[in-house]
Symmetry: C2
């Protein structure tokens, strides 16, 4: 069984990647990166999912410098790049995952990013993943010695609603996930994260188990 | 003038890269990553150098999770890979530098690693740097939009003693640098960092301005 590390954001995509990987191996680890003040809920959701699937260990990594970077980063909006883009995020995240992987003697790093996001984010598409695989096999000791280091995205061909269908099929506990960008007790229902999530539920005709903040009258 | 970010470890190599870059541009920023408990002296040396060369801003990034990773990481020694190797370190460091670069609207990331280290570390040689350049031009917004993101190592062809000669020629304040791996008030003179440094001074027949810990009788 291959030892694997799953990057968890706490949302539906990464939860689905976690449950898919669980089918392949029980030698399973997870990791969440807290990189903005508002992501406490994501961190909590990641921990809940990690506990639910019984990973051997869950690592929380705190990167407070990203707050400063995001505060300064105001690029003009672009039709090609999602407003959810965070500078060099996945280079940093997969780099940290690779460091954790080497320490654990693991070679497989799994993340879940759906086809829609992978198109709109420069650091989620197939070309990026291929280069990341090359760099981890050249630039890490584990990669040099084994040539087996790999970053994989099992959801690259799934649209968001297809990921949700797969999540339901895999019995992913969707009530434990969190997709909202706000840091409230209940998801806002209005941000990009909530809207994408709710649209996917609507598309497949299923109701979201999460309770949303009441809409102001 | 190109806006540039120099990665400072506080040692002679990165200080020399800083002073070389200062000759090219005054639109200069620096960054230090604190990734182990023992690196307070490196962080202080980096700040002293940044102040001496009058960078516009110096960013200190704290990555406490690396301590946990290093505590677990005990690979068998290898003739090909330096014992100074830290898992996936430069993927993470250059990723963070790229994030900072995007926030600043900078495209040039400079680091200094001498020819000896570049041979012994999988994440410092020319092949790694080339892949890192590819990934930053594919996987960051700035890279996609400008194709100008670059990581450069001006010292890749210089042996340690040649770097030291260049440092002296550039008037690098060597008394502000720090190369020791220990966290004492004076450098130990015995660790790998000190030994490499002292050997370089000896090779070129110059004395090190640092005072070392007295040798036990």
């Amino acid at each position: 069984m291959t030892k694997a590390i799953v990057l968890l954001s706490g949302g539906i995509d990464s939860a689905t990647a976690l449950y898919l990987t669980k089918q392949e191996t029980s030698d399973l680890y997870s990791m969440n990166v807290i990189y903005a003040e508002t992501y406490d809920n994501e961190a909590e959701a990641s921990k809940r999912l990690a506990t639910a699937v019984r990973v051997k260990e869950h690592l929380s990594v705190f990167l407070p410098f990203y707050k400063d970077i995001e505060n300064r980063y105001h690029p003009p909006s672009s039709p090609e790049i999602s407003s959810a883009y965070v500078p060099a995020r996945n280079v940093v995240f997969y780099g940290i995952a690779a460091a954790y992987a080497e320490a654990l003697g693991a070679y497989r790093i799994v993340f879940g990013s759906n086809a829609d996001d992978s198109k709109e984010l420069p650091d989620a598409g197939p070309e990026f993943i291929q280069l990341m695989n090359s760099i981890l096999n050249i630039g890490t000791r584990a990669g040099r010695e084994s040539r087996r280091m790999e970053v994989v995205n099992p959801l690259i061909d799934y649209r968001k609603s297809e990921v949700l269908k797969l999540a339901i099929k895999l019995n992913v506990p969707l009530e434990l996930t969190w997709s909202c960008y706000e840091n409230a007790i209940t998801p806002c229902g209005k941000c990009r994260g909530c809207r994408t999530r709710l649209r996917a539920f609507e598309e497949i005709g299923v109701s979201d188990p999460l309770r949303y903040a009441p809409v102001a009258p």
